[in-house]
């Protein structure tokens, strides 16, 4: 039970006169111990950490984006996913190092507020919360598409387009479940991710064999860069939402067992796993139908791919997997958003009330509503691409600053910074990570950039108004 580094303390007061909660005295492999002998048990193992990472990511990349990506980038969409995966990996490495130096809840927000100061922390923290809200809304709209496809499959025709309505319904249900449910959601998530990986592995193995002619099917030969090279980058910016999950592992860093070992493995491992799955999926999907036809199928393109391979059972399997995956992604994101609200409230950047736990269920109803409420508003817009890009925008800002935070901490090397995992390739890896994550933003649609900038501006104003006297930065 080697002691872990604790991270710096925090001081000051917000407008309501609340101060950041005190920092713990020792942080061990199995618990966080506070001065008053109160301990917080660490209960999430490596499998649980991987399940959070993969479970959050896999919903979007495989079940929502293939059609959209193929229509803009052609077969080169698989390159877009590879680029996204590369950037995610460049950020996952610094995040892993920082997380082992500060294995506390809050993830990227925590690292940035402690190294770059309260203002940057507040912008990133509020951005993380809202970024997750956008991401959840995006997953829920994706879920709506899948549920609609299921309805179509069983022959129920509705007069109106039910995508948004179903998304809203599930959003409400998820929020209510999170507030009122006490069953073991973490274990459930592990099983869901396990099932998804098995289904996808079977499906993709078949697909790859087919693509290389094992079943001598007539295939559509295509030019790789059918739409040119520039759309590959814009598509990478769009589909980057598929890589937001690894940082969610860091938001529960305070609850992970043996963080110095499990945090880096869970984060880097989940990025590697999903990148492989994404790239192979796009490769298989485009080689079956060709990018244009795939694009025409929209959000549920994978169902048609599977139908082509395995007939109706294949379509049903992917429909079910899609429902599960988008549901689990939305669920994981709502929970992470609630954790982000808690981390902000603990540091007095949001009212303490926001992290209140209710007596009846023991759940943080205010924080969950702070996630669920705005999610419903965003789902109502029904705009998959905008939601995805704004979520990516807010995360990319954070990722870029995580890399900067690592560079600053390595350079100043304060006493409290003693990571047990050190990333290879310093300073090139974090420097390239910072530049590429910020650079990817340039390839987004103007509307997404505007919304993202507005969210950041409002976050900064909130900080100026509410918490300008709070000091979170450690001594550098």
């Amino acid at each position: 039970m080697a002691d872990q580094p604790v991270g710096p303390g925090a001081t000051g007061q917000n407008v309501a006169g609340e101060s950041p909660a005190e920092a713990p005295r020792t942080v061990t492999d199995e618990a966080i111990v506070h001065d008053d002998e109160t301990e917080l048990e660490r209960t999430i193992g490596l499998v649980g950490g991987l399940a959070i990472g993969i479970g959050t990511m896999i919903g979007a990349g495989i079940f929502v984006f293939p059609g959209l990506a193929a229509s803009t980038a052609g077969p080169a969409a698989s390159l877009s996913f590879a680029i996204g995966g590369g950037i995610a990996l460049l950020v996952a490495l610094p995040t892993a190092e920082l997380a082992t130096a500060m294995p506390r809840s809050g993830g990227g927000y925590y690292f940035i507020s402690r190294s770059l100061g309260t203002a940057a922390g507040a912008v990133v923290g509020l951005g993380l919360w809202l970024g997750l809200v956008f991401a959840s809304a995006f997953y829920l709209v994706g879920l709506g598409h899948y549920a609609t496809a299921v309805l179509a499959e069983v022959g129920i025709a509705l007069g109106v387009d039910p995508v948004v309505a179903i998304g809203l319904l599930f959003g409400l249900a998820l929020t209510a479940l999170s507030i009122g449910g006490t069953e073991n959601t973490a274990t459930l998530q592990n099983y869901v991710v396990g099932i998804l990986l098995v289904v996808l592995t079977v499906f993709l193995t078949y697909g790859v064999l087919d693509a290389f002619g094992a079943f001598s099917r007539q295939r559509t030969p295509e030019v790789f860069f059918s739409q040119g090279t520039f759309p590959v980058l814009t598509t990478a910016a769009l589909v980057f939402t598929s890589y937001l999950g690894f940082a969610q592992v860091a938001t529960v860093a305070g609850e992970i067992k043996e963080p110095s070992r499990n945090l880096p493995r869970a984060m880097i491992g989940s990025v590697l796993v999903v990148t492989v799955f994404y790239v192979v999926t796009i490769f298989v999907a485009t080689s079956v139908f060709g990018a244009d036809r795939l694009g025409a199928f929209g959000e549920t393109a994978m169902v048609e791919v599977s139908r082509e391979f395995l007939g109706l059972p294949g379509a049903v399997a992917i429909l079910c997997a899609g429902l599960l995956a988008t549901f689990s992604s939305a669920n994981a994101s709502i929970l992470s958003a609630s954790r982000a609200v808690y981390a902000l409230s603990r540091d007095a950047l949001l009212p303490r009330r926001a992290s209140e736990v209710n007596l009846r269920f023991g759940t943080p109803h205010v924080a969950l509503l702070a996630a669920g409420g705005p999610i419903l508003v965003l789902v109502a817009t029904g705009r998959v691409e905008l939601l995805a890009e704004v979520a990516s925008f807010l995360h990319l800002i954070m990722y870029s600053l995580i890399c900067v935070a690592l560079l600053v901490l390595r350079r100043r090397n304060p006493d409290w910074y003693t990571p047990s995992y050190r990333l290879p390739g310093y300073p090139a890896v974090p420097a390239v990570g910072a530049l590429t994550s910020a650079g990817l933003i340039a390839f987004m649609q103007p509307a997404s950039i505007v919304v993202g900038v507005v969210v950041m501006g409002l976050s900064y104003l909130w900080y100026r108004y509410y918490a300008s006297n709070v000091t979170l930065q450690g001594v550098l």
């Binding site: 039970m1 008053d36 301990e39 209960t43 959601t185 808690y342 992290s355 736990v357 023991g362 969950l368």
Partner: protein, 243 residues
């Protein structure tokens, strides 16, 4: 005087569990590690529950600790917020080097205690718990064994004699030690049935993990049929330095 045996007393401190009647008397000679724990759902960060409930939990823990201290025990208090009660129990029991864990059920002030013994492996620890708690009291203990296949009564008598001499070496009055043997049967059921005549039950841990015992199947079997407190004596930790 024997060392005070370290006994873990887990209490779900925010869910109305408290120190049941009779337990303070039972543990009067123990060093109690009083573990107040609160299981929070996965949706809630443990720190979040701490922020809100710590004060209340500590107040109750303080009160329960005093009840035990008033009866004569020495008490160490621990408060843990967790997603997994079993893991917390295991960790604290291991870390604080506890000889036994109490399943807190109510009882009258103890006069007769049943001590279920099986193999020689756990005898030394069981003896330390029993002698430590009861050697300076008027409590009488009954050693209890369920016959196993290929065991003769002579074997069991020899075994009992060994346990008895350990207990007396640790200060127990030989006249306060009785013995009882039941014929081959389902062990847990037999123990639970025999325990009904007694005020408390001391037994060895039958599974690798204490947790499966306290919360799992065997624990439920005992708790269903025996409503008194059960002291589950822990196995020897694999690595003695891991305290």
């Amino acid at each position: 005087m024997t060392d005070r045996p370290r006994i873990l007393v887990p209490i779900r401190v925010l869910q109305g569990e408290s120190i049941p009647e009779g337990v303070p008397e039972l543990l009067a000679n123990a060093h109690v590690v009083l573990l107040g724990y609160h299981v929070v759902p996965d949706q809630t960060a443990t720190g979040q529950a701490k922020l809100q409930f710590e004060e209340r939990a500590n107040k109750r823990l303080e009160k329960y600790g005093s009840i035990l201290e008033d009866a004569g025990a020495t008490v160490e208090r621990r408060l843990v917020f967790t997603h997994d009660g079993q893991k917390t129990l295991d960790r604290i029991s291991d870390k604080d080097d506890c000889l036994a864990v109490l399943v807190p059920n109510g009882t009258r002030p103890p006069a007769d205690v049943l001590v279920a013994v099986r193999g020689t492996a756990s005898v030394s620890r069981i003896a330390r718990v029993v002698a430590g708690l009861f050697s300076s009291t008027s409590v009488s203990v009954t050693l209890y064994h369920v016959t196993e296949t290929n065991e003769t009564d002579d074997d069991i008598q020899t075994f009992f004699d060994g346990v008895r001499s350990r207990l007396t070496a640790l200060g127990m009055d030989p006249s306060a030690i009785d013995t009882q043997i039941d014929p081959e049967a389902k062990r847990l059921g037999a123990i639970a049935a025999a325990a009904e005549e007694y005020d408390a039950l001391v037994m060895g841990e039958s599974d690798p993990s204490l947790a499966t015992f306290v919360f799992g199947m065997p624990g439920e079997q005992i708790a269903d049929r025996f409503n008194g407190p059960v002291l589950v004596v822990q196995r020897e930790p694999p690595n003695p330095e891991s305290s």
